[in-house]
């Protein structure tokens, strides 16, 4: 058990953060880095911008999946007597709550990262049209 800002918890503060907002952070990083990469890369005429964007997507999808698994595996260890679906409705354990929420959110944000990875594959990269 660790004692921290979150009270007495079985998981450390890092584990709680990674599990709960890892997926969302990966998404934000993907959007910001992609937009930045595209803007600078197009301005400076870097070759291989498309490849870099694809690599970025693959990398952050991996991160999203990893954080999802990370959270999923900790659902059991923080479990109370109840099924995950009941925890979602009744909130018996805060950590369990955070890990369940984190698993679902990582799944959704990973899908969004994937969606954001599609445009560089099909659309004109640097020009408007």
């Amino acid at each position: 058990m660790t004692e921290s800002l979150l009270g007495r918890t079985r998981l450390s503060l890092w584990e709680l953060l990674i599990g709960s907002i890892g997926g969302a952070s990966a998404w934000l990083l993907h959007l910001g880095a992609s937009y930045l990469l595209l803007t600078i890369g197009c301005n400076e005429n870097w070759p291989g911008v498309r490849l870099m964007l694809i690599a970025l997507t693959i990398g952050l999808v991996a991160v999203g999946l990893w954080t999802g698994l990370f959270a999923y595996r900790r659902i059991e260890s923080t479990e109370t007597d109840a099924d995950w679906a009941i925890t979602l409705s009744s909130g018996l354990s805060r950590e369990n709550f955070m890990m369940v929420v984190g698993t679902v959110s990582s799944a959704v944000f990973t899908i969004i990262i994937l969606a954001q990875g599609v445009p560089p594959l099909f659309l004109p990269l640097c020009s408007e049209v």
């Binding site: 899908i111 599609v118 099909f122």
Partner: protein, 313 residues
């Protein structure tokens, strides 16, 4: 003539209209299903209703996760791929040897046909004529504030932003007149900044543009000659151009071939004798705040200048 996005006449608007119908039908299905569920939830008979236990809530919660999160995420992702494909179809370069450079100003459109060799260039205003079946490249610029070029039956819109050049293509697959209107609030007379795109068969287009390249026709009748004098001496050359005379300013629409245009005052009035007279005699009545001043003219002068202007075909 109604500028309906759902009555497309070219591949740009056509692809978007298809996308619309897909989005519409998917939304319709979702709406019907959801409202049916809501209706059932509201109206279903409850006999001996008891507060559900946590155990009983498992089902609804699982349903929300699978039907409410994963399923919509997959549907929307699928839709998104279709969106990207549509997007791809409406972008890309044009395939004409010329680019139409359109420079927006408050509240009219300066239209310049630019070829590789400048002797082929032509200039008009508030009207864009294009050959049928060709992807016409349009370059959009602004000399004052942000405007937006929108001709709904042919293509989506693109803004004219001062300090940058935006590009778009438009293509009409059948001859016709297509109405467009400025779609970014640009001040007082934003509502009265329209234009027409006229699609013609390719050979007719070549004839038309050849005529546009020519300087203005010399006045034929006395009235037209007098009208030209009125034109040249009452301040019009300060802003307008009539190529072939010493009037060569471009602060206002190029009038070299204004007589052959469908409309005047940026798509606001039909190009007829009566309307032209009304416009010239008091532009502030029709477009209050526009930059064309009211210049007092004797009735005879007015008639003459209208004759002259309409002779500029």
């Amino acid at each position: 003539m109604n500028p309906s996005t759902l009555d497309p006449r070219g591949p740009g608007a056509g692809a978007i209209a298809e996308l619309w119908w897909v989005l519409f039908y998917v939304s319709l299905i979702i709406t019907v299903l959801t409202l049916a569920a809501l209706g059932y939830a509201i109206f279903r008979r409850r006999v001996d209703w008891r507060l559900p236990s946590d155990e009983q809530d498992r089902g609804p919660t699982r349903a929300i996760v699978f039907a409410g999160i994963l399923f919509p995420a997959i549907v929307i992702s699928g839709l998104f791929i279709y969106v990207v494909i549509t997007y791809r179809a409406i972008t890309g370069p044009g395939d004409t040897p010329f680019t139409v450079r359109i420079i927006g100003a408050k509240w009219w459109w300066d239209v310049i046909y630019e070829y590789d060799s400048p002797i082929l260039n032509a200039r008009t205003a508030n009207e864009v004529r294009i050959p049928v079946g060709r992807r016409v490249s349009i370059a959009l610029e602004s000399r004052d504030v942000i405007h937006s070029f929108w001709v709904p039956r042919l293509q989506g819109k693109m803004d004219l932003v001062p300090g940058r050049t935006n590009r778009i293509w438009i293509q009409a697959d059948s001859p016709g007149v297509y109405r467009g209107q400025c779609a970014e609030f640009c001040g007082l007379q934003h509502a009265r900044m329209a234009f027409y795109v006229v699609a013609m068969e390719e050979n007719e287009f070549e004839e038309w543009i050849a005529a546009q390249r020519q300087p203005a026709a010399a006045p034929q009748s006395d009235a037209e000659r007098r009208g030209r004098d009125v034109y040249l001496t009452r301040g019009c050359p300060l802003c307008h151009a009539v190529r072939g005379t010493e009037s060569l300013a471009h602060a206002a629409p190029d009038l070299t071939h204004v007589g052959s245009r469908l409309s005047i005052a940026a798509g606001v009035l039909p190009n007829t004798r009566g309307h032209m007279a009304g416009w010239i005699s008091n532009p502030q009545q029709i477009k209050p705040g526009s930059y064309m001043p009211r210049i007092p003219l004797e009735p005879a002068e007015l008639q003459d200048i209208v004759s002259y202007v309409l002779s500029l075909r």
